[in-house]
Symmetry: C2
Subunit: 262 residues, 2 copies
């Protein structure tokens, strides 16, 4: 299509393209997950809408992790390209002024044009919270899995140790993830217990689909004595989803950090 | 009205009246406060409905504290009379099975018939939470007052010290509370600070209407330097609501404990 004279002059005035990286927090309770799906309320759609309102042009928002419906984030990372001239840090109050209250931008910065929040991620940390009180806390009802049984925490910790390392994690992967390889390196799998709470933190170079939720579902079976800690290694080496425990509920999961090369 | 024969025989079979005390937790976000109001969603109405479903007869549920709209509880106490024969501890799962997920009964016990959750309360503890992060946490959006200013915590702690003791707290009372006297004994007023959080805990023999929220609103003015700690004593002694700070938002407040004589 031929450009009109006005378009031509406007193009001379065009701003250089930039790439903005955002760190986000969200309460996933009210969303059908991160990834945009026609007609459904998703984090990605809300972000794209907010960026479009602020920059006055449509944007493709790329997320580091496609969290499922009901999963939360304290440190999701996304990026989008824009030619808006606003200083990067101004995107924080600007986007927050148009985003719903359950999604907040914590930080914004300019990054090289080639940065991709998804493909450049070198590590991710997920945290899984269990509410172990006899009656579930109303304040954790959307943020924790209620496990009101006595849990053998030492056995669960030993189970965690079999998750750490570079392994084929096929036993802990739901179908539909589209991963090319099932090998991941888990750098940390740690259990912390507080008053009425158990938290399992898993840090890896990347996660397979539902990997942390299946690991937690399996560790709970260890906690209640239906599996031994050693069974976790056996399940891992079986490379068969059917031998692992159930998928723990989405609401207990929170993406807490995404790491990139400096 | 004459009793029919069937009613007469049923009355011989009547169970003795009992008094059940419940300790409750609730997320007040979705409620117009504790106290029943026609046509509005309240904690008291939900409890009365649940007790009626479980005991199959209407019940008058008496609450220790009439929390306002948006105020939460981790240790509200209520009582109701019933002739239901169920063991007291069974009321916990029974009521929770019919209550909404944002109200949970934590404990239930038989108490003497004359026990009254409101009039027998000897002390109450309220906790007020402030979120001091630059961007408000999505997870605290309904549970904390966002105060993104540098706060002089030492000055606030000194301010707290002027709240402790037996005083006329008229300066910290909203109108409409219907109290006969404004004298209350505050046994503790303590400030704790964590990462991005400030909590103020106030324990007293009882609270005037909005008392803790006005105390917090005044302490925040001390924190930002608009008042000196010593001004808190001056405001207290003025016995005039107009000289105290604003009423801090309801959502930061939580009733954490109600004490009774053993």
């Amino acid at each position: 299509m031929l450009r009109s004279g006005a378009d031509f002059w406007w193009s001379l005035d065009e701003q250089p393209m930039r790439n903005i990286k955002l760190v986000l927090e969200y309460d996933g309770t009210a969303y059908c997950g991160f990834q945009r799906q026609d007609g459904l309320r998703t984090i990605q759609a809300e972000l794209a809408r907010a960026v479009a309102v602020i920059t006055k042009s449509p944007a493709n928002v790329i997320g580091a992790g496609r969290t499922d419906a009901g999963v939360h984030a304290r440190g999701q990372v996304v990026n989008f390209r824009t030619d808006a001239r606003m200083p990067a840090e101004k995107f924080v109050p600007a986007l927050n002024s148009v985003l719903p209250a359950d999604i907040r931008v914590l930080r914004a910065e300019d990054v090289p044009l080639e940065f991709n929040a998804r493909y450049d991620a070198r590590g991710k940390t997920d945290e899984y919270t269990m509410d172990t009180r006899p009656v579930p806390s109303v304040f954790l009802r959307n943020y924790a899995y209620h496990v009101p049984f006595p849990l053998d925490l030492e056995a669960m910790r030993e189970g965690c140790s079999h998750i750490v390392g570079r392994h084929d994690f096929r036993s802990f992967a739901a179908s539909g993830g589209g991963a090319k390889t099932f090998t991941r390196e888990v750098r940390r799998c740690a259990l912390e217990a507080g008053e009425g709470l158990v938290k399992i933190t898993v840090e890896a170079d990347g996660f397979l689909y539902n990997m942390v939720r299946i690991i937690v579902g399996t560790l709970v079976l260890v906690g209640v004595g239906k599996l031994t800690p050693r069974d976790v290694a056996r399940i891992r080496d079986a490379r068969d989803r059917r031998v692992a425990g159930p998928t723990a509920p989405a609401k207990g999961l929170c993406l807490v950090r995404v790491d990139y090369d400096a």
